[in-house]
Symmetry: C2
Subunit: 347 residues, 2 copies
């Protein structure tokens, strides 16, 4: 794994090693904001509170005895591919590998909310982790805060999972042991790890990680307004060749990668080796699975002439959304979904 930060721990998968559709647990990117909590499982409880008729708490055993569901979901860090930004943006300089796809097993959040009796006035559900610490830069709240994010009521009741297994194994410490949220189709920021509190809220939540951090600008009537990062945008990435790879001239080369989107299916991936002048259809592999990435490949006959070449990949989804060619500066250091140039050397 590529170490982007040691403390807190931030690890990136070397994306050139993309193999099967499921990312092995040991290769799945790690994004932490604070030190990884070390829970005492004898006293650990998951609390459900706020705008509910019957607040209650669950021990780990009680949670695991509830009916489970398994789903596959791709998580991507909202700052994935930041290293491609020019000029350099603040934050961890993620390359292509702050994204992964895994099978998650756990209890639907809806079942827990149902048991608690979610009140009619609850508009959002706040997911709060045990991880906590101080924010360094203003504007910041005083003292230590917990990592927390909210999801709207409809999403909370639809498909959010309280996951305790990852690819069939116990959830690893770095991925949220004992329990994390999985918010399918959303950026990883929403899938709160080390979950200990679920708070039904009658007001929209504007905690640090969805007001100052993990927000982008959107235009409304031409005016920029700040909005929290939520649903995944359509994106494809090239795993091979990797940046600066030397590829043989006048030869067949298997370009391959993955593509994903939020609440839709990938319908097309195209490759360009002339900086976007022409595009060639790649082949989608396997079967579509909502919320999971789709692997793809493209057989490229490399030029006879040696020299530099730039490859671009562009995905389209079933909602008609397509990756843009150019970067939208309103997104600051997040949502880097424009076609990323992979520069290689033909020799």
């Amino acid at each position: 794994m590529i170490i982007r930060e040691r403390e807190p721990l931030n690890l990136e998968m070397p994306f050139a090693e993309l193999g099967g559709s499921l990312t092995p647990n040991g290769r799945f990117y790690v994004r932490a904001h604070f030190p990884i909590p070390q829970p005492d499982m004898k006293t650990w409880r998951l609390k459900i509170e706020g705008a509910v008729a019957r607040p209650f708490e669950l021990s780990y055993d009680e949670l695991r005895q509830m009916e489970t569901r398994t789903l596959t979901a791709t998580l991507e860090c909202a700052g994935n591919s930041r290293v491609f930004l020019v000029p350099q943006a603040e934050g961890a300089q993620w390359g292509l590998g702050a994204v992964g796809n895994a099978e998650w097993t756990g209890v639907p959040l809806a079942a827990v909310l149902d048991r608690a009796g979610l009140e009619a006035g609850a508009v959002e559900v706040i997911l709060e982790g045990a991880d906590r610490g101080r924010i360094k830069e203003p504007p910041r709240p005083a003292g230590e805060i917990h990592y927390a994010r909210s999801v709207p009521r409809a999403k909370a009741l639809k498909d959010v999972l309280l996951a305790f297994k990852m690819n069939g194994a116990e959830l690893p410490a770095a991925h949220g042991f004992p329990v994390r949220a999985i918010v399918p189709g959303w950026y990883g920021v929403a899938s709160v790890k080390w979950l200990t509190r679920i708070i039904a809220s009658e007001q929209p939540f504007t905690g640090y990680f969805q007001s100052i951090d993990y927000t982008v600008w959107e235009r409304r009537g031409g005016r920029p307004v700040l909005v929290p990062i939520t649903e995944l945008l359509v994106k494809s990435e090239i795993a091979r060749p990797e940046m600066a790879e030397v590829v043989p001239a006048d030869a067949d080369y298997r370009v391959h990668g993955a593509a994903w989107t939020g609440d839709a299916e990938i319908t097309k991936v195209e490759i360009s080796h002339d900086r976007g002048a022409t595009w060639h259809a790649a082949r989608l592999l396997g079967q579509p699975l909502t919320h999971a990435w789709r692997l793809w490949e493209f057989h490229w006959h490399t030029p006879a002439q040696p020299g530099p070449q730039t490859l671009l990949a562009r995905a389209t989804d079933s909602r008609g959304r397509q990756q843009p060619t150019d970067r939208d500066a309103d997104r600051g250091s997040y949502l880097i979904t424009h076609c990323l140039p992979i520069e290689v050397e033909v020799r």
Copy 2:
């Protein structure tokens, strides 16, 4: 005036010169975020648009022919008294004088919205100035933005004024010529200057100056949430003695200043010269006027013993709110309303 920044222009009144209740136009603090616009009055228009049945625009003459109202309102910069913060906070190092009280004449916003036919779904009204520029620090929107703030529907219809006169004179350039908003009882940040657009909005507005800037943290269920700065909090300031003033020993000294609050009246101002151990009632001068500050005085018999002395003033309002003794760090670099120590030398 004390120059806090030349470009954009930020000027502070030397608060020790506080005289009558109305602050003269030339002594009223100036807070600008961008260069002061220089409108061409032949083409200048005030536009009313968004969620209204009949969008329209007004020339300056048309606006001035509408029925007017005059009100007195105190405006305070949300960062006033920042120089008292330890450690030093980012932003202009305002002392005591980024506050002033004036008589404003103009057209009620309600009249303009009524003429446009405010739609039932409009929850907020955005006030946008002609002043514009780039934000320097991320997180920031791309390109130039206009200064803009919103007020909730109820406030917009209640008492917001589109003012073109200040203390009976033409509104000066630095104070928003030709027209500015006056949002009585709110921090100055809401009283948008150089007003050119009024936009009824069906969604809460989260523009830069009420999301990233001009926001503070509030605790909800113990969790910090970001909220825009709106209503004035109760506060008093001592005009004389001023910081580091030398006052005669064993003599009568007239301590005086002003106190203000949002949507309420000042009911009490107290002075302490023993760091808050005991408090002595000051005398409120004149008559109470909602949204205007109240002048006060206190006859202090100074100690016979020479040496340093610290004076504190503490105001209470008709809603029972009182200035706190200590600073709340969740307010970052704004809303500095704790009792500010004025250190003097008795000689």
